[in-house]
Amino acid sequence: MHVRGRPIAKVPTQVSGLDEVLEGGLPRGRTTLVSGGPGSGKTVLGLQFLCAGALAGEPGVFVTLEERAEVVRQNALSMGWNLAALEKAGRVAIVEARLFGEEVTAGDFDIQGLLAIVGGQIKRIRARRVVMDALDVLLRVFNDPQRERNELYRLHEWLMNRGLTNLVTAKAQRGGETVSQYEFLDFMADCVLRLDHRVIGQVATRRLRVIKYRGSGFGTNEYPYVIGTHGIVLFPLTRAGLAHQPLGEKVSSGLTGLDIMLDGGYRRASCILVTGTSGTGKTTLTSTFVQAACRRGERVLSLSFEESREAIVHAMLSAGIDLRPALRARRLMIQTGLPEAMGSDDHLIRALEAIDSFKPDHVTLDAISACVRMGSEQAAFDYLMRLVCILKERGISCILTNQISGMVGTDEELSGIGFSSVVDAVIQLRFVEKDQEITREILVIKSRGSAHSNRRQTFVITDHGIEFPDDPLPPPSRKRPAGRQGGE
């Protein structure tokens, strides 16, 4: 999984998730190559690194070999980075170094003119970082692999001698795994990151991989990333799960009967799964909790992939649950979206942005079964696993619903998606035919770190909410406290 090496000095990139993968950041005083196809986000990564440095007291020079400086400034501004202000403050310098292709060549030449310009700017703002965007464009002028190599070597030596931390980007050939003509660049750089932008199941996905990192360990997987509204965000799944908050105190589910079955209610910071076939009352059960939580003054973010906000509110009204006061008081935020509308990574960043701004105490998601429509089962898994892990890290509880297809079924169907390990409690709803009548039953299948009732309990959905005709029995462990008590 990880290759261990002698620790070297590193510069944090401040790119969310990337520093974990790089075990601290990019190598200080060395050159990092970022290669990738068009639209993979190379420039964004470079700008992000530069701006983070400029704000942290490490001025930087951005050398744009392809785009006009004005375009670079505009692109940065769209991510919320004000380059013009940083330039004014002497923390950033932009060198527009574009060849126009009209030059006549006659005899041997090299890139010392560029180095002189960049060197002048480095001196002027006392730069500690240099980003060279689209080096391949510059190399094209040589039109000869041997001379390209010589110039790359010259550039590398020049950068190394200045002790600057450099990030160089180069275009990868479309569809190619490696930048074959720039293998030498790969070889020369101390750290090589490959950005990949591909389409799987009609959904665009982006992946980052660390190809090499001299003198350091690194995460060796392919990591999904998105270009969000504030730059690149990485989701290293492997690190998730290490920093979960312990399960918290119990909060009422909104139903006295269910609280008795759960020995007090749901635990904070836990992940609760509600499964059942269509119409068994999963959304009603979840909304009961949402209403109760908001009435307590807590904040809930509801992610819905099934219905519109209006439809949800309306449907719940018929079951006697009024979500409107909670919405008005801004304690409830409903985020709806078609699973097919974007890739799972974009869904995740959208949810994360809502979590960051709304700061909910609880998150509900309706429904897991719809997430598969984000592209594939793998995409759904990636989305759910990362979302749940991030929520757990922040101590936010989440209630997920899952629609199962068969009339009979446990959470077995869920194991297909394979993330039952992060689920702390499972509640199953089902229909039963009794005396020529269909009734609903609820069962707590699992409740980590807590006692729970092991009886199926009949419930009805009335026009004033869920009711239990027979009082639910408390968990058996009440009589045997040694049973399932205690955390895991």
């Binding site: 527009e96 006659a106 005899g107 890139i111 003119g113 310009i117």
Partner: protein, 108 residues
């Protein structure tokens, strides 16, 4: 399009008379020296008495390189007569240089 033919002629005459050439070099590297000597001998032969050569060391004056967008050295810029021309390299390929500076008619 409705230019006074006299002015046009006059400008043409004036510009043909004098060549302002700016050579960007790096210190006194061998390639830079070669470029300068190549340029001097070319001017002697083809532009006797009607040229000026400005030599700019990009290491000492990076601002000038930035102004003229000189990334590659050595580089020769024909400032006047217009249109501006940039020739990259040590100017060893004399035919190409002459062609670029509009001093020969043939294809390089």
């Amino acid at each position: 399009m409705s230019q006074n033919p006299r002015t046009k002629l006059g400008r043409k005459k004036g510009t043909r008379d004098h060549y302002l050439l700016r050579l960007f070099v790096v210190g006194l590297g061998p390639n830079s020296k070669l470029a300068l000597s190549n340029l001097q001998s070319l001017c002697c032969e083809h532009l006797e008495g009607r040229y000026t050569i400005e030599v700019i060391d990009v290491v000492k004056n990076y601002q000038a390189a930035a102004r003229d967008n000189i990334l590659i050295t050595p580089a020769l810029v024909l400032v006047t007569p217009l249109p501006r021309v940039v020739v990259l390299g040590n100017l060893s390929d004399r035919q190409r240089v002459l062609f670029a500076l509009r001093l020969s008619g043939g294809d390089p």
